[in-house]
């Protein structure tokens, strides 16, 4: 039970949080972990608030959804406000896009603003890969999956046309992630 990691990615429809969840989940599969992934599946997946959940474990997973997030990755203010309440009581970490989200002070929770959208626009000339930049940074900061598995997951889950752009975004995210450190508990 205690080796179970619950991750919630949220933002608004179109930012690619659902794809990011799938890529993260597949990376964990590549790392030989058990994974349960789910995402918002209504009209909100096409606009409005979108959510993706990934549960990663060394063992088979029973309850398939996130109960309390150990890691919250927020790409929009609405989604941040909605899910900031549902954090694990211990060692939770919040990663948010610092161009979009204004965080609130929460006792005992480490919150890191990652310039994902800014990096996506400045370095890659395309804000659509902010999700992958965010994911790259999150993986380096939290160590939830290996970098190698992330690369191969992108190669599996992203269409040929956008593969190069997404791999560049991932590497930009990896580089960004090195600037931050998760507090040791």
């Amino acid at each position: 039970m205690n080796n179970l990691i619950q991750i919630r990615l949220c933002g608004y429809g179109g930012q690619g949080v659902v794809l990011a969840g799938t890529i993260l989940g597949h990376a964990a599969i590549n790392d030989d972990k058990w994974v349960s992934g789910s995402n918002s599946y209504g009209a909100q997946a096409r606009g409005g608030s979108a959510r993706s959940e990934v549960v990663i474990s060394e063992n088979s997973i029973t309850y398939p959804h996130v109960i309390k997030a150990d890691i919250l990755i927020a790409m929009s203010q609405t989604a941040y406000d909605e899910y900031i309440q549902d954090l694990a009581e211990q060692n939770a970490i919040v990663l948010y896009d610092d161009m979009i989200v204004h965080p609130r002070d929460i006792n005992g929770v480490q919150q890191i603003g990652v310039p994902a959208t800014k990096t996506s626009i400045d370095q890659l000339g395309n804000k659509q890969v902010a999700n992958i930049v965010m994911l790259g940074a999150s993986v380096v900061i939290t160590g939830i999956v290996s970098k190698k598995s992330m690369i191969s997951s992108i190669e599996t889950n992203v269409g040929q046309r956008f593969k190069e752009l997404n791999l560049k975004a991932l590497n930009a995210g990896f580089a960004l992630g090195k600037n931050y450190h998760r507090k040791k508990h």
Binding site: G25, V35, G37, Y41, Y63, H65, I67
Partner: protein, 382 residues
Amino acid sequence: MKKDIRFVQGNEACVEAAMYAGLDFFAGYPITPSTEIAELLSYRLPIKGGKFIQMEDELSSMCAIIGASLTGKKVMTATSGPGFSLKQEAIGFAVMTETPCVIVNVQRGGPSTGLPTSGSQGDIMQARWGTHGEHSIIALTASNNQDLFAMTVEAFNLSETFRTPVILLLDEVVAHTRERLIMPKPGEINVVERLKTSVPEGTDFHPYLPREDGRLPMSDFGGVHRYNVTGLMHDMWGFPSNNPKIVYGLTHHLVDKIQGYTQEITKTKEFFIDDADCLLVSYGSSARTALHVVENRRARGEKLGLLELNTLWPFPSDIVRKRCACVNNVLVVEMNMGQILHEVKNAVAEPDKVFLANKIDGSFITPTDILNILRVIQGKGV
């Protein structure tokens, strides 16, 4: 050889399993939350030389698979609640004509169009009695991708073995949860092929004349034999009859050919049952929450167990009765108002010790939903 591990949704696991079982023909009318099944098969089936048809509605989809099955093909359709309602008349035709076919119903909230994108387990009784008249039916379910794969193959196997429609009752949560699937190698899971007649061309073929072992071999419709297929009560030639003896015999046959093999058909899974004093009974996605509760409470020393049902119809009354006899309380966990609860109560000697933990608001049942009821049963207050 390295294992072929996929990261797929339940609907994709269902498609992979149908292909593994030898699916030749799919007709459907895509509907949330089953859409991925039709979507994936629309390109997977033609690649292997199979046929995919998007029909004008659910009624015609059901009729199309019956026709294709009679010609010797392995067939499937997939739908959700509203479409399942529309298919009921033709499911009855498949029952009466003893045509093998697999119907996937990815359950969503109902009645009517209900809650298109939310999970539910509200069609359990509809699977059993949705079509009119005395009959029996097989309905299977699963709670995770690996079981879903196995039960989908099993659905095809049972439909061919018993010459009956088999209903695969999934739900939105199982269908859309993305998790790992270890692809079974060819031959790893048994695949049953159709029993075909040995009656040669030029000799009369009686489509409903059983062999000595009771089984009915088939002849591909449109092939070398001419025979009649009708939804009316019929004799061994397949021609309509209202002869009371024939009607009595056929009605009994349609029921007995399944009910009489309940033990062989039944698949269940048991977790921590041996020393349990409280038994949870569940199926489909709800069984995952139930198992979560059982594992957590076991870690605290509470003697909880889980009986997971993969076969819902014919209802495994014997196993339920035996497992429930040894415990103080039984808690049925499902996402409806107690459709399996009543079956469990009917099966056990002490129905008063059977309780319900359910969820009917469209959201997925949580551990807290179960624990709240457990507290009451265990006398710990509300």
